[in-house]
Amino acid sequence: MSIELDSHRTLTAARGRAAQRGLTTRQAVADRAFRVALLGATLLFVALVAGLFIELVHGSWESIVTFGAGFLWSSEWNPVTNHFGALPFIYGTLVSSAIAIVIAGVVGISAAVFLAEFAHPVVARPVSFFIELLAAVPSVVFGLWGLFVLAPILGHTVEPFIQRYLGFLPFFSGPIYGVGLFTAGLLLALMIVPTVSAIARDLIQAVPNELREASIALGATRWETATRIVLPSARSGIVGACVLALGRALGETIAATMVIGNRPAISASLFAPGYTLSSVIANEFTEATSSIYLSALLELGLILFVVSVVVNGCARILMWSMLRSQGRRS
């Protein structure tokens, strides 16, 4: 988004300058050709997204016609009787992603504030480097680690501990398996923390130093300056970063599949196994023998597509509104 805006601004400015200098027609033609090419590339991407959407609707048409809107709130998933409903998968996707974004938001923003405002560069540089390295680890490696390290620790130690003190709450009740919604949420959080903390740190560093100095000069502490001036100045951009990270959690397939338990059930307990939209598609696509089964899986894909587009759209609008309000400053 910002890149598009910038290039647009550059182009406009370049055109203005070209006009002033009275450039030759050949250059003007090249300029026009360049713009047409850019427009073509943009339209191509729009067409690709639209085509994908149409193809998904087309593929899931049989399911849409058969189950209607009830597909969204039916919890039955039975390939034998050919009855399909999306609710457990929507639930699993939303709950695991919600856990992920709450944890990653708190941890990522705290890390960003610490790294940008308090840590000495000698500490901040290597720590930032390692956090960002986390983003480069392949999902399947996260999945393996989640299954063989994280899930046993959670199942044997952490979840029983939480249950002992908070077990009266329905979210922490019931049997503990190690794998489940909570484990998946935590693993996803680890995967998206770099996105949150890296973008948030850059946004915090972009807050003009004059604001910090003004705050300090008014007798505020560094902590008050960070929480009352710096964070609010970067707020909408940070929210945008979180939504962007949420988009990644929503679509993450392999790591979630490995630790969520893959059971299409809705349970109040976060320790219970669940299933996500992307996991069920990946797991069952090859076994989908009947056309209605395949069509139902494609409709799950359509739902995921719509949710992701909406979430990412929100992120972009938030970031854009922040850039615009910053522009008003100068």
């Binding site: 000495h120 560069p121 604001l211 100095e213 003004a214 705050s215 609010p232």
Partner: protein, 265 residues
């Protein structure tokens, strides 16, 4: 009594020293930006710091409320005494000290929050919880900064939406809300148009009644208009300091005279 050549007003030469800077050195890494500078800043007077750009005026003024604490590469030695207490000594809390020494910056830097909250920020971070007392402080400070009439109907609008001159007066109101004793201003009008500059200068003349003001300015005419005393900086040292009219009409140092008469660099 000294007759001021510039505007004919009379000022008393025998006033108390509010801030006494002695043997101040400031380094940025290996860059020795202030060299053994000493200056007495008198109470209820406007002291102007003049000199070519890069000579250390900002560095000097920022040492007076310990803003260099924020710059990791900066190192300060020497004494800055506020009412005879060295602000760099161990038992002085910089947070408490900064309430007494306010700062107005070169570029207007209102916080991205409402006009009201901008002015209320200082009292709030300094522990004022009482909403009606805060409201009184906000109104008084805005009136004192000659901004109240322009903003009284839109206090909840963003401070960032004001014009440059209004923003700078908002920043002055923000400083006044803490009822400081000393107000430091680093080229407060350099980013403003002539009309906004005139308003700021008028305001400085009024502030002088209640506050001790130190102002950095690159404009000799401005120093002449607003200040009682002037210190001339060159390459990190104070060449000469004294009553403004004396510095402007009978400088003791050749280098001061060269700078004043524009024969310089």
């Amino acid at each position: 009594m000294i007759q001021r050549a510039i505007d004919g007003r009379e000022t008393s030469a025998a006033t108390a020293v509010k801030v006494r800077v002695s043997h101040l050195d400031v380094y940025y890494g290996s860059n020795h930006a202030i060299r053994d500078a000493s200056l007495d800043i008198e109470e209820n007077q406007v002291t102007a710091l003049i000199g070519p750009s890069g000579c250390g005026k900002s560095t000097f003024i920022r040492a007076i409320n310990r803003l260099h604490d924020l710059t990791p590469s900066a190192r300060v030695s020497g004494k800055v005494e506020l009412d005879d207490v060295d602000i760099y000594s161990r038992d002085v809390d910089p947070i408490v000290m900064r309430r007494r020494v306010g700062m107005v910056f070169q570029r207007p830097n209102p916080f991205p929050m409402s006009i009201y909250d901008n002015v209320a920020y200082g009292p709030r971070v300094n522990g004022e919880r009482n909403a009606s007392r805060i409201a009184v402080l906000v109104e008084d400070s805005l009136r004192h900064a000659a901004l109240w009439d322009e903003v009284k109907d839109r206090l909840s609008e963003s401070g960032v939406a004001l014009s440059g001159g209004q923003q700078q007066r908002l920043c002055i109101a923000r400083v006044l809300s803490l009822r400081p004793e000393v107000i430091l201003m680093d080229e407060p009008a350099s980013a403003l148009d002539p009309i906004a500059t005139a308003k700021i200068e008028e305001l400085i003349a009024e502030l002088r009644e209640q506050y001790t003001v130190v102002i950095v300015t690159h404009s000799m005419a401005q120093a002449g208009r607003v200040s009682d005393r002037t210190a001339f900086f060159l390459n990190g040292s104070i060449v000469e300091a004294g009553p403004t009219n004396q510095i402007f009409t009978r400088p003791k140092e050749r280098r001061t005279e060269d700078y004043i008469t524009g024969r310089f660099g």
